[in-house]
C-alpha cells in the first residue's frame, strides 16, 4: 500500500529510527491480511501470545526500560516508529498497557528489588503486569480512594484494566491511612475476582474486585505513588495517541486506494471532487495529528515539568482521538455498503480507534484538562 503520509516528503529520520521502522514495517507485513487480528477477537485473553513473544525477541518490550534492568533504554524518538506500525497493523498485543504504562510505573517506583527481579522478565516477554488504577468511569484522578489497603489487605474495585486476562500480576493503587500507595498483586491471589467486559475491537477490559486480598511487594510509597502514576498515564496517553496515528494513517491509505479502484458511473469514484475534498480534509487531519505527535514525543524525551507533560499529553490525545474517529468513520462512508460488513478490514480500524480514543480519557475530557492546565 502506498505511503501517502508526509513523513517521507518532509520529515528526517535518524539512521537508527530508519532501522527500527524497517523492522516494524516487516513485522506487520507478516499479517497484512489481519488474520491474527481477527483470530484473537472476542476470545480470551484478546491478544496473541505468540506475537507478544516475537515482540520480546525484537527487544521492543524493553524500549523504555533502562539497560541496567535488561531494557534498551531508548526514548519515544525511536519507539514512536514502532507504535505507528502497531497501529497500522492492528497488532493484537497490549503493548501500550504493559510495555509502556506498567513498565513506566515499575521503572519510576522506588522498590529496587522489584525492578531488578521483575523488569528483565517483562522485557523477555515472560511476565506481564497490568496497571489497575481507575475507580470511576471518565476519571483521570490518580489518588486512590475507593480501593483501600488495611493491614496489608486490599478491598474495593478497579475498572477498565486493559487485557487483564493475559496479565500475570496487577499493579494496584490503593489508599492507606497516609495516602496512595502502589502494590503488586498476584492474579491468582485469594479474594480477587475478575469480570471481563468485551471491547468493540475484540479485546477485553477487566473489572477487578478485591475482598481482603493480600498485597505483594510495594512498588511505590505515598511519597511517590501519585506522581509515578500520573507520569505513567501521561506517557501512556502519548503512546496511545501514536498508535492512533498509525490506525488513522492506514485507514486513510486503504480508503484512498479503494476509491481509486472502485468504478461507478464509468469512472473511479476517487476522481469525483466531492470525495476528493473529503479525503483531503481527512489527510489534513492525519498530518496535523502527526505534527502534534512529533512535537510531543520530542517534549517527552527532554526535561519537561509534570504539568507541561500533562498539558502536552492532553493536547495530543485530544487531537489523535478526534482525528482517528473522524477518519475511520468517514472511511466507512467512503467505502459504501462494503464498509459496513465485518468482512471488510476497514471496520476493524474504526473499532480500534473507538477503543483507543475512549481509553485514558477521550477527546472532550482531554480538552477540559488542557483548559484547566492552561487557561
Amino acid at each position: 500500500m502506498e505511503d501517502i503520509s508526509l513523513q517521507s516528503r518532509i520529515d528526517v529520520l535518524s539512521e537508527q529510527q530508519v532501522l527500527i521502522q524497517d523492522s516494524a514495517v516487516a513485522f506487520i507485513a507478516q499479517d497484512e491480511e489481519l488474520k491474527k487480528t481477527r483470530d484473537n477477537r472476542f476470545v480470551q485473553p484478546g491478544f496473541d501470545q505468540q506475537t507478544w513473544k516475537e515482540m520480546a525477541e525484537l527487544g521492543w518490550l524493553g524500549f523504555l526500560i533502562p539497560e541496567q534492568y535488561g531494557g534498551i533504554g531508548l526514548g519515544f524518538d525511536d519507539l514512536h516508529t514502532v507504535l505507528i506500525q502497531l497501529g497500522k497493523g492492528l497488532v493484537p498485543a497490549p503493548f501500550v498497557a504493559t510495555a509502556v504504562i506498567a513498565a513506566s510505573v515499575l521503572v519510576n517506583g522506588d522498590n529496587e528489588a522489584v525492578k531488578k527481579d521483575r523488569l528483565p522478565a517483562l522485557v523477555a516477554g515472560e511476565w506481564k503486569p497490568a496497571l489497575a488504577w481507575q475507580e470511576a468511569r471518565g476519571s483521570m484522578c490518580v489518588k486512590a480512594e475507593q480501593v483501600k489497603v488495611v493491614d496489608g489487605k486490599l478491598s474495593g474495585r478497579k475498572i477498565f484494566v486493559p487485557d487483564a486476562g493475559g496479565a500475570d500480576d496487577f499493579i494496584v493503587s490503593a489508599a492507606s491511612a497516609e495516602g496512595t500507595e502502589l502494590y503488586l498483586v498476584n492474579k491468582d491471589a485469594a479474594g480477587l475476582s475478575i469480570d471481563y467486559e468485551q471491547r468493540v475491537d475484540g479485546g477485553f477490559y477487566g473489572q477487578l474486585s478485591f475482598d481482603r486480598v493480600a498485597v505483594g511487594d510495594k512498588v511505590a510509597g505515598i511519597a511517590l505513588a501519585e506522581q509515578v502514576l500520573a507520569a505513567a498515564l501521561d506517557t501512556g496517553r502519548v503512546a496511545a495517541s501514536v498508535e492512533l496515528l498509525g490506525v488513522m494513517t492506514r485507514a486513510l491509505e486503504i480508503t484512498v486506494d479503494y476509491t481509486a479502484q472502485r468504478v461507478q458511473f464509468d469512472k473511479p469514484i476517487g476522481s469525483f471532487q466531492a470525495l476528493q475534498h473529503k479525503m483531503v480534509d481527512l489527510f489534513i487531519l492525519s498530518e496535523i495529528s502527526r505534527s502534534v505527535v512529533l512535537q510531543t514525543i520530542g517534549l517527552f524525551d527532554s526535561q519537561t515539568s509534570a504539568e507541561g507533560r500533562a498539558a502536552a499529553a492532553s493536547q495530543v490525545k485530544a487531537r489523535c482521538s478526534d482525528a482517528a474517529l473522524q477518519i475511520t468513520k468517514s472511511a466507512i462512508q467512503l467505502h459504501g455498503g462494503i464498509g459496513y460488513t465485518d468482512e471488510a478490514n476497514i471496520g476493524l480500524y474504526l473499532k480500534k480507534a473507538m477503543y483507543l480514543a475512549s481509553w485514558l480519557g477521550n477527546a472532550s475530557a482531554h480538552r477540559a484538562r488542557y483548559a484547566e492546565l492552561t487557561l
Binding site: 502506498e2 501517502i4 508526509l6 516528503r9 518532509i10 520529515d11 528526517v12 484512498v256 476509491t259 481509486a260 469512472k267 473511479p268 476517487g270 476522481s271 471532487q273 476528493q276 475534498h277 479525503m279 483531503v280 480534509d281 489527510f283 489534513i284 498530518e287 496535523i288 495529528s289 505534527s291 502534534v292 512529533l294 512535537q295 493536547q315 485530544a318 487531537r319 472532550s364 480538552r367 477540559a368 488542557y370 483548559a371 492552561t374 487557561l375
Partner: protein, 388 residues
Amino acid sequence: MTDEQAVNEYNVMDDDTFRTMVHDFYVENYPDELRFSPHRMHWDEIGDWYLILSKKGWLTPAWPAEYGGMGLDANKLLIFMDVGESYGVGRTPDMGITMVGPLLIQHGSQEQKDHYLPKILAGEYIWCQGYSEPGSGSDLASLQTSAVRDGDNYIVNGHKTWTTLAMDANMIFMLVRTNKDGKKQEGITFLLIPLDTPGITVRPIINLAMHDEFAEVFFDDVKVPVVNVVGGENNGWTIAKALLGHERIFIGSPKFAILAMSRLKSMAKSVSLFDDPLFVERYTRLQLDIEDLFASYKRFVEVLKRGGSIGPEVSMLKIWNTETQQRVTELMMEAASENGGIQDGIETGDGLVRPAGEVIASRPTTIYGGSNEVQRNILAKAVLRLPT
C-alpha cells in the same frame, strides 16, 4: 552592540531573552494608536513603522543574514511573530519582504538582487502583485495581459485586479502573456514594472470592510525594459509557482489565527465568558486547533531551514489556518450577541475588539492565494494522487 553583530546572535539567545527583547522594542517604538488595527493599513499610516524596522534591521526576519535579513531559525521566527501578534503590531505593505525578496534570492540574477533587495530593505521600493485578472481567478494560467516584444522593451496591455495596496506601491511584479500559442502555462513571463511608468492607471476598489485595500490596475501601451524579466521569457509560470509557495507558507503561518484568538481572549475576559463551560469548551477546541497548526507550521519551516524545499503539501497549512481563523471570528461574533451586528467594537481594557469587523475581515483569507477549493484540488492530485 551594532545590528550587524546582533544578526548572528539572535539564534543563540535563550527564548525568553529574545522574546523580552522583541517585546520591549515594540513597546518603545510601535505607535499605540496603531495597535490591533481593524484594517490593512496604508503607507501613510504604517510607513514610518516600516522605516523603523528597516533601521533596526528587523524588517526581514526570515531572509538570510547575507541579504540583510535577521536569518532567524524556525523557533525564533515563531517567537518573533508571536510577540508581534500578541502586541497587535500591524502588517506593513510587505509584498517585497515576503514575496519578491525571497523570490529574487532564489531566482533573480545577481544584478537584480543587487538592485532590488537593498531598495526593499530601505523602503524605497514598495510592491504590489499583478496576478489575477477579471477573467482569470482560480484559473490563473488563462491570463490575457500581454507583453509584446519591441526591441529592448515589451509593450504591455491589459487589466489586473485584486491588487492589494496598489495605491501605496511604486513597483508591481506581475505575470504577462508573451506567447499565445501552445500550452497556456508555457507562454507566461514574470515581469517587474515601476508603477510610475506612463500608461498605468490604478483604481481603488472598496471591499466588504468598506476599505480601499485593493485596486484594479490598467496597462495601456506600457513600455517595460526586457531586463525587468525574472527567470527568463516564458518561464513565468514556474517562477509564479515558486512564489505561490512562498505566499502559501506565509498564509499558512499561524499569525492571523493567533491574532484573532488573542482578540477573542481579550473579549472573553472583559465580559466574563470564561465562566460559561460551553464557551470554554469551544474556546479550547479552537485554541488546540491553533496550537496544533503551530506544531505543523514548525514542521514545515524546519524543512526550509534545513535547506529543503516545500512542495504542494503546504496547501494544508493554508486551509487549516484560514478556516480556523474564520471559526475564531465566528465564535467572537456569537459570543458578542447583538454586538455581532454592529460596526463598532467592544472596549475590553486591552483595546477594542470588533466581532463583526473580524468576521468580515477574515472572509477573503479562504479566497486569496488560491481559493481553499483550489488548494484541495492540488492536494488531491499532487499528494493523495487521486485519479482524474
